[in-house]
Subunit: 238 residues, 2 copies
DNA sequence: CGTCGTATTGAAATCCTTCAATACGAGTGG
DNA sequence: CCACTCGTATTGAAGGATTTCAATACGACG
């Protein structure tokens, strides 16, 4: 399935120029494509995966449950991401990955990845780099959900998803599909569902943004990014 | 300076058994040792480091400033950590690293690291793994500062530092030096200094913990870990 | 002994949550 | 086409957690 692998290549290529030879070697990786409905657990706490996957289409979320019983979403993953690539080196998963929307995943065996890394050391570094890009997202999330007020927090999240989905080719004009509920937004931002609703209303009233039936439409990017304290440097995009 | 390098080895060894040959190769890396006072900027936003460092002694913090002007501390780094190792693959720093206490750092040139990785591919994987361990800290921090109440948040931070400093050999019995102010704790947890003070009083009153003049003493570990919702699985310790 | 950063406490204000009730919208079966 | 149902969205009002403001105390250090 060339589609998924080309997505990986897209990410890897971002800043590290792989040779045609190296790209061809990646394209030869055996990939198993699987589809899942929304709200399915893809990876569970305690799992010891023998393979990792790239998201070909759809959205995933990394989450943990707290002792209170509430579920916290720590990250949202978009097409091209490989959110469990870290299982290559941290064998026991300490979080859950579940599908937000229906998803298509491309699985690659760890053994095949390691074999490729032996032959093509620069591919090792490219994969390493993708895990570092992901950890930059977590770092920014600490800032966002831990240190900013509710309006800024939600605005920043929607700015980040706009830019990341655009980089993944899932944005037309100033609008993108975000098939999640306000309750999900609450689990991501650490706010109550009620307050998510109120903040969304404020953003709508201010004319910056609408979110309705799973579609985000950005009406005033400059104002929004300013309000959100959003500086995309941490995304390391070209 | 064998001390710093052996610290790296300690971290790397944690779960990946390097051969004597590989360890010897690491020990041969040229290291430049530097000392800094407290509150010095070690790495700045926009820097393009040509070398990385391991913390030989002291504490560092990774932080960003928000548009409000407030400084948020995203992570605290202990001896053995290599908090800017990611500059190997993400060349432009998007955060600041500053010293919390006086520190001793062991610098290694990127060029030397890359050269070693070429000769010893398993060292590449060991270094990759340390960056993944660090990103697990950020992931847990998202949960902690974004989704838990103030008491749990602060208790969790002090639990984590206890375990990490113990793993770094900086703990005697149930007490450890944490030479930071309550204002720093506020910048880490995303709370106000005043509230940090009140929460510390609560923890002291409940008999779980004292924090006074830069020394944390844990009086009731089980109760504290329970209150803090602290499960060390994310640290991937043996 | 004075000074300065840090710690501590009280009181008022604010942000956000919780509780509770209602409205909306898409899908389902009659 | 309509009534029903269920998940989601929306709004009001009250309560709680945390911040802000302001004042005082402590402790290390010159």
């Amino acid at each position: 399935m060339g589609a998924g692998i080309d997505l990986i290549l897209g990410k890897l290529r971002q800043n590290l120029d792989l040779t045609e030879h190296e790209k061809a070697a990646i394209r030869r990786l055996p990939v198993v494509v699987s589809r899942f409905d929304a709200q399915r657990e893809i990876v569970r706490v305690g799992d010891r995966p023998q393979r990792s996957f790239v998201i070909i289409s759809g959205l995933l979320a990394t989450s943990k449950v707290m002792s209170s019983g509430n579920r916290a979403i720590l990250a949202v993953h978009v097409p091209g991401d490989m959110p469990d690539l870290l299982s290559l080196h941290l064998p026991i998963m300490d979080f859950t990955i579940h599908s937000i929307s229906p998803v298509t995943l491309g699985y690659v065996e760890h053994a095949d990845i390691f074999r490729l890394c032996e032959v093509q050391p620069r591919v090792t570094h490219a994969l390493w780099r993708t895990t570092l890009l992901e950890s930059a997202l977590y770092r920014e999330a600490v800032l966002n959900v831990g240190h900013r007020d509710a309006t800024t927090r939600l605005a920043h999240l929607l700015c980040e998803l706009f830019i990341r989905l655009r980089a993944a080719g899932a944005v037309s004009a100033m609008r993108y599909r975000l098939p999640i509920t306000q309750s999900d937004l609450a689990d991501i931002t650490g706010m109550s569902t009620v307050h998510v609703n109120r903040v969304l209303r404020t953003l709508r009233m201010s004319g910056m943004l609408t979110f309705s039936r799973g579609v985000v439409e950005i009406k005033a990017w400059e104002n929004l990014a300013d309000l959100a304290d959003f500086d995309p440097m941490y995304l390391s995009l070209p």
